[in-house]
Amino acid sequence: MSHADWEMVVGLEVHVQLKTRTKAFCGCSAAFGAAPNANTCPVCLALPGALPVLNAHAVELAIRAALATECTVHERSVFARKNYFYPDLPKGYQISQFDQPIATQGRIVIDVDGTDKVVGITRIHMEEDAGKSVHDRFAGFTAIDLNRSGVPLVEIVSEPDIRSPAEAGAYLRKLRSILLYAGVSDCSMEEGSLRVDANVSARRTGETALRTRTEIKNLNSFSAVEKALHLEWDRHVTTWKTNGTIEQQTMLWDQNRGTVRRARSKEGSHDYRYFPEPDLPPLVLDRRAIDEARASLPELPDARRARFARDYGLGAYDADVLTATRELADYFEAAARDSGDAKHAANWVTGVVLATIKERGLDIASFAALLPASRLAGVIAMMKDGSVSSSAAKTIFALMLEGPGDAPAQAAREGLLQVGDDAQLRQWVDEVWAEHPAEAARLAAGDRKLLGPLTGLVMKKSGGSADPRKVNQLLAARAGT
């Protein structure tokens, strides 16, 4: 695309479902996947006379989300009603926060081509989810499932600081990772617990004012976000270049066609008639409770990555990969601690472990159930002390995935233990020395090129069970005598 001199400006609105057991304003289960309308009551069905009562755990999680993204948490915030008619919005309004949200002015640091970039967080506000309209289930009818009605969300709104699809992707991955670390949400786009709307505009490089933006909805994956941003920005630039105008409106990502199209209804034209929710008193937070929440936050991905690099001597890439999720980082740390070898643990986890997870379609939790870090550490430890070779270690790893038995037992059963016994090794060295006198003589004369081939011959004689480092040492010592 030859849009040199044109810049992309993106702000993202991310809706995240808070990981509570019950809904935001009633005692119904917030779990995903129940039979339609099973998780409903007078409150979330908006029966006449029902009233909302705020879920304290949802507030705790919203505070954690805010602190984890370095926001200022406000001691007083106000719920507001966002009024609009829709069949899956039973009250005819959504309880949200408007001009006094729970948190503002945070930041997330993303990596852009190896350098840090700060993306500002404008605000985080609490709100409830609507239900779901099902249009394709019954011919001629729309069905309504209100299981989601009243499920607690936070909306995290970024500043328009993002300048490319790749930055948008990096922002979303980092945000997701932070929220997972903080235990705020499951962040599953498949189950709808993380949803993204993207605001995009285009401007000439150097312009400071923002041009008209459009909002893209229906984005069902991070890669859809990146593709849609690219397409929509391209449309903007092409339009501006041909002296057209961009209308402020809502666009929809079409996953099947891989296109962005106009939404039928003009969502931007709604007047939501926000006003303070009279059924809920202002949310007043104790400064001490906020401080306690801050103290209870776990180490977040950026801090952990820095510590991995510093304490374990890991490279930037490994540290990044290993801190992608809290569970993976925990797994690595356990393997490093139990094996006493962080370098090898890092190699194993970023290599074989992640490859296995990918091949078998697992996540780290189910992998850890299959092969706890302590068992992986056993293999690493045996390799480190020379009792198995690295190729034998991979065989043991594969065996341990299939069944019980720790590394030493598996190695013994499969005959994979390396022979480190000096007497046995010396005997094989002597035999090879005798069988290949010419090569032996040249090595003895100082031709160290022959060390490799002779070691290979000893390994062959041992059937692969000799410890190659020791063989190498013995041959060198023999040549020196």
Partner: protein, 456 residues
Amino acid sequence: MSRTARVEASFARAAEVKAGADGLNCIISADREQSLADAAAVQGGALAGVPVVIKDNLATLTLPTTCGSRVLAGYVSPYEATAVRRLRAAGAVVVGKSNMDEFAMGSSTENSAYGPARNPLDPTRVPGGSSGGSAAAVAAGIAPIALGSETGGSVRQPAAFCGIVGVKPTYGRVSRFGLVAYASSLDCVAPFGRTVDDAALALEVISGHDANDATCAVRDAPVLRAGAGRLDGVVIGVPREYFPPTLDAAIRQRCDAALDALRARGAAVREVSLPHTDLAIPVYYIIAPAECSSNLARFDGVRYGMRVEGDGLQAMYEATRSQGFGAEVTRRILLGTYVLSAGYYDAYYGKAQEVRALIARDFTRVFADGVHALFTPTTPTTAFALGSISDPYEMYLSDIFTVTANLAGIPAMSLPIGRVGGLPVGGQLMAPHFGEAAMFRVAYALEDELGAEAHQ
């Protein structure tokens, strides 16, 4: 009298006074067999076997909860309002749901989809509203206690018109759970009683914290049944704004007599000023419709109540809501939608909230200045004739002395202080937030001192 006999007597009285659509039209649903079964099952309690009437905007389990609206015709709630549950837990037996202005919007009980209710003291006149059916039922002797609801005077004004006692508690004193919302920041469940003591008993029973209402105060129910005593050391404030030169002379005279009665009991009477009083009606008619426009959005034909099919979703909404709601409800929804609209919010809703705070501060100042309770007339007139007020704004003015307490959130009550032209006149007492106990102390004394004069 046995518990079932009391309930039998209530139904007999209802038949005698023609409580149904062919007469007073104060009871719009009842189930005699169910009520008798309920009475037989009563275990005991402060209200064991006492018949009670419930306004039709409070959720009850077996009788419909229609709010006097077509849009909820036949709707039966699957859960029970907290106030009703507490009455029943104390042994009370629900003998009927009462007529009301649709969704509590009105001052005469003429705005009901089920036809107007009538005043038992003069059936050509209104019982007041919006809780007119409950007031009429108590005045007619069908039940000694009834529940109504208040948003701008909907219990005190009909209590005054029907010659009984009506109490609007402090906002947050009684749970609103199960009260179908009109204007949430103003709505209160409010009891009627034949006497001050009946009203006190009912309020004691329904008060107290409820985890289902986030605006309900975390306070225990108050002790109100003090009985009549002296009022030495009690200072009664008389706000001059409630006694304008245009006030009906006969009503003023009854008020003066009531103040004399209070003095006779040892109270000191002092004139005070609540300077923002004249702004209360305009402020009320911005805030209440604004909240109403949002609260009534749920009546959309999708999940329950009436649905009028149309060509597509929008047409279904429009047909259901335009046929389901009456004229006054429609007027307030439109007004409320307007005042919350972008570009008008600050000028109307925002400004109204500021003035509301000023009205509340008027009261705070007076009460901080040594006044224990205020005394005013409840209404500027006695019960007017059915159909005599057609101008909505003129109707709104019948709440001119009562809306202030709702805007300020303070407790207030009306009790009979005599009659003018054979029609009851109500005297209003107002007290500081959660000052019901002091307010009732004054009410008991006034009722006792006036004696039979209160009904003459």
